[in-house]
Subunit: 315 residues, 2 copies
């Protein structure tokens, strides 16, 4: 007997939520998009994913302006900026089925724990995306490159349900895999985000220039070592080979501005809490402080504060 | 029987060399100024020190365009930017009397050692200045505030000669004292220069704003702790009370741009070698690495490199 198909909620239809949600809907999945003030616009104009793999248009998406208008679904994909996670306290209890799944598509650590507290009856997992994609305008997303997603369980006993979700993603043409240790996946993503988000912002530059300067390249490696050692103190070993390959790959990459840098340039708050502040606190508790990363974090907090003051002045 | 008066050479007539040299000359000391390409201009127009303590004009200074035109003197004051220290290899052997004294008025550590190698027959000491003063144009220096100088011996057996020099400075109305441990004096100056030079440049801001943000204020304190511990590992203890008083004083100071920030803004090379690179190497050798300061140094090296490339482009 075939199982009933999963229904999906996409919270946040930006570069990430738009890419995965539109691909799932296009493959025939039952996908519900939470779009807040843009819901009416998207109902009229539809959703559009531009991609080198072929453009996808969803003429009549299931679009909603508020969580309490939505049906409860099996799988809720959290694709907001983590600076807006305060909203999850009201959204998640309204949209996840009892016994359903919440998947966190955000960068950083500690979010799955918070989600488990908000919806204790749900199973919570994480999704780490390797994706270059951004929102052009409401409901219109441009995919540039990559797209792989790695799922990992935060709650116990969700291996089967994660495998079924992975099947839906795979059917939608999305490269997908699952990992045994979600913490290790999260910290591996920090290995790139922590040095390159910070240094492109603080030094107002792009990844290739950071890699072209011997001193900042070495700084990136030393930052990765701090994360590696903090990981080991928690019981998982990312391995220096991973860091060195990431450095080499970044040196070869086309010049890139991380999305946190785009946020900064647009005067938006930066996702410092889960990418910097939490890892710093976890590493300290594990007895392996990360002083280089603490330095970057303080610098980013200063810039974030100045950015907000400037934004207020412009009001 | 009265001792013969000391003769002085001032190398580098900027904010520091101008202030001390003009005051000494005004008090009747025999002072010789090395001015390179500006010598002829200064011979015609004289030297001018503007100061809240009263302006001083030296109509006919002893000004020279090259070291080999100068008489050998008893005391040579090194007041160049340390980025130009390569020049000392030719200047110092030409201007210091056998058995004379070279005093290093620059910030940072390791310079006295290098000077001792260049002129092994000279006695070498250091002078730490607390002075706000800058060059307005060739031969014209504006003194804003402070002026105290602290002398310390690098070579053995120079206490008496340092006391005589201190007497000359004191006679010229300059607040002066001497310290037992020159290294401790040098590292105390780093306590301010290392955090505030770096952060005003990297974050493009002023000292008061760094102190107004809780995270960067804490970062400054943590940087001072790194210097303090590196000092202890070398056998001297600056004490946390000194750091906390410095933080409080800086918070109360009028907004201030360190001279390294002015150099950066003018596209000039920054004095990274003796203020950052040498202390970092010394601390590593002493078994107390300073990872926060290493982070700042790599960032400054990146910015310095970019600044030089921009300067070349504008040629």
């Amino acid at each position: 007997m075939a199982q009933e198909k999963f229904s999906y909620v996409i919270i946040g239809v930006g570069g990430v939520g738009g890419f995965y949600g539109i691909r799932l809907a296009n493959a025939g999945a039952d996908v519900h998009f939470l779009l807040r003030s843009y819901a009416e616009y998207v109902k009229q104009h539809g959703l559009l994913l531009e991609s080198p793999d072929g453009d996808i248009r969803i003429e009549k998406p299931q679009a909603y302006g508020a969580a309490d208008e939505m049906p409860r679904c099996d799988v809720v994909c959290v694709c907001l900026k983590s600076t807006q996670n305060e909203q999850l306290k009201t959204i998640l209890p309204a949209v996840v089925k009892p016994g359903g799944v919440v998947l966190v598509f955000q960068n950083g650590v500690g979010i799955e724990q918070e989600v488990s507290v908000i919806v204790p009856q749900a199973k919570v997992g994480g999704a780490a995306c390797f994706l270059c994609s951004h929102k052009v305008e409401p409901g219109h997303v441009r995919h540039e490159d990559y797209g792989r997603v790695t799922f990992g369980a935060h709650s116990d006993g969700m291996e089967d349900v994660l495998a079924r979700i992975a099947g839906d993603f795979s059917d939608a043409g999305i490269p997908v895999d699952t990992a045994d240790d979600l913490r290790c996946v999260r910290w591996k993503k920090l290995m790139w985000n922590v040095p390159f988000n910070a240094l492109t912002i603080i030094l107002d530059t792009t990844t290739n220039k950071i890699m072209a300067c011997g001193q900042t390249r070495q700084l990136c490696r030393n930052i990765m070592v701090e994360l590696l050692e903090a990981g080991r103190a928690q019981g998982f070993d990312i391995g220096m080979g991973f860091a060195d390959k990431m450095l080499d790959d970044t040196a070869k990459m086309t010049p890139y501005k991380p999305s946190m840098k785009l946020d900064f340039e647009l005067g938006r708050p930066m996702e410092l809490e889960y990418i910097y502040e939490r890892p710093i606190a976890i590493a300290r508790r594990a007895g392996k402080p990360m002083p280089r990363i603490e330095t970057l974090c303080a610098q980013l907090q200063f810039l974030d504060e100045r950015n907000r003051m400037d934004a207020n002045r412009n009001c």
